[in-house]
Subunit: 237 residues, 2 copies
């Protein structure tokens, strides 16, 4: 098969660059939300991007709670604040000082919040692919979130994923039925800034890891730094 | 804030179109793998795209097993075949006939397989965001898979996610340690075709669901078809 045949379905340079740019320039947003409302058509595009995620057996188990009401966001923020105070207690000294200085959510500043849930009871897809790995229903819902995050980046919109809640209290606040899985809580808004690095890196909480160390060949444990470096050594986009 | 300010960080039209195109034209690939090898530099880009997924506390818990060995793929295929035969037994009559006619994995045809695992024991990120929702480590790994699937689409490469395995037998076959979570098994290769719709839809297994029904406003259960239709009625990319 010739080079040309290989690339029939490859995107052109600009479109391909757009995909990688979204992946590389996406940030978990906490600090830079502006109050500018997200227009209906843009928000619709983001939700539809999420709705086009892969899903096991075409189950499409995602259910969205779109939260713009300031009172609801205030109540959610209180839950975050309590959970965050509790979370800080496992750290000590300098690490604790750093933790409490971190801004970890933009619930009130972001004009749109989105709670993403998963209906694991749905019969859609007739169980295909779920008999051996039922957790794939939830994984499909996570893929929907990642689609939304990347489409948002292309629109200049920042998304921050907040996981510092008592999930049961959040479920109760938002009226999420017992049979639904609460997957993620997102803060969304036009961003004044996208940093070149993640906020946690810039604030000295954690540094990026090296990809070659994370690649095993044919079997777990069979790492090969030289082979991995060769794979990754020529990265060009 | 003016329209111009809102859009400082918005991508240009072509790049933005590339992101949506990857999202809409990605397919879960089973039938159309070509034997053309994936070049190292392309494979490196896909793995690096995965490595740039969001992760809780910057944990980056994904670990990749890159499988090109034909013997290993053959053994994985046997596990799939056994699990798939067992899975077919819950269906009856026409549904069973349809199920057994479906091609659900391209393990042997795809030149590259990738098993994605998650190290939930990693101390990276110092537990930030994981005290209340430890499952977010696995969700980060799923985001890495979705990044890879979208970058692959931009390269003309199809990815198929296989979940029809006995997970314990697959772990044992690939030597995955007990403390690691097996998240997903992917088949990857240049595709001869990307259908306009999903294979499961074309084969009549399941039809796409309507997005407006999946949107709740401010609280679960508060659906509003008219409001949702307004959000989504003007979709333009």
């Amino acid at each position: 098969m010739t080079k040309i045949n290989q690339n029939i379905h490859r995107f052109g340079e600009e479109e391909r660059h757009g995909v990688y740019r979204a992946i590389y320039e996406r940030r978990d947003m906490r600090s830079y939300f502006t109050p500018t409302p997200i227009e209906d058509d843009v928000l619709g595009r983001l939700l539809d991007a999420a709705h086009h995620a892969p899903s096991v057996g075409m189950m499409q188990p995602w259910r969205f709670i779109l939260i713009r009401d300031a009172g609801v966001r205030q109540s959610v923020y209180e839950l975050f604040k309590q959970a965050n105070e509790a979370a800080s207690s496992i750290y000590e000294d300098k690490q604790k000082a750093l933790y409490v200085s971190l801004k970890l959510a933009g619930i009130l500043e972001a004009p749109v919040n989105l709670c993403v849930t998963c209906d694991i009871t749905s019969g859609r897809g007739r169980g295909l692919g779920r008999q051996t790995m039922p957790e794939t229903a939830i994984y499909s819902t996570v893929c929907a979130i990642q689609n939304l995050c990347l489409a948002a980046r292309a629109e200049g919109i920042g998304v921050g994923w907040v996981s510092i809640f008592d999930p049961d209290r959040l479920r109760s606040l938002l009226g999420i039925p017992a049979e639904m899985v609460f997957v993620g809580y997102l803060c969304m808004g036009y961003a004044s800034q996208f940093d070149a690095q993640s906020e946690l890196q810039l604030q000295g909480w954690e540094m990026p890891s090296e990809l070659p160390n994370l690649i095993h060949f044919d079997r777990y444990g069979n790492t090969d730094e030289k082979r991995a470096a060769q794979l990754l050594g020529t990265l060009k986009f």
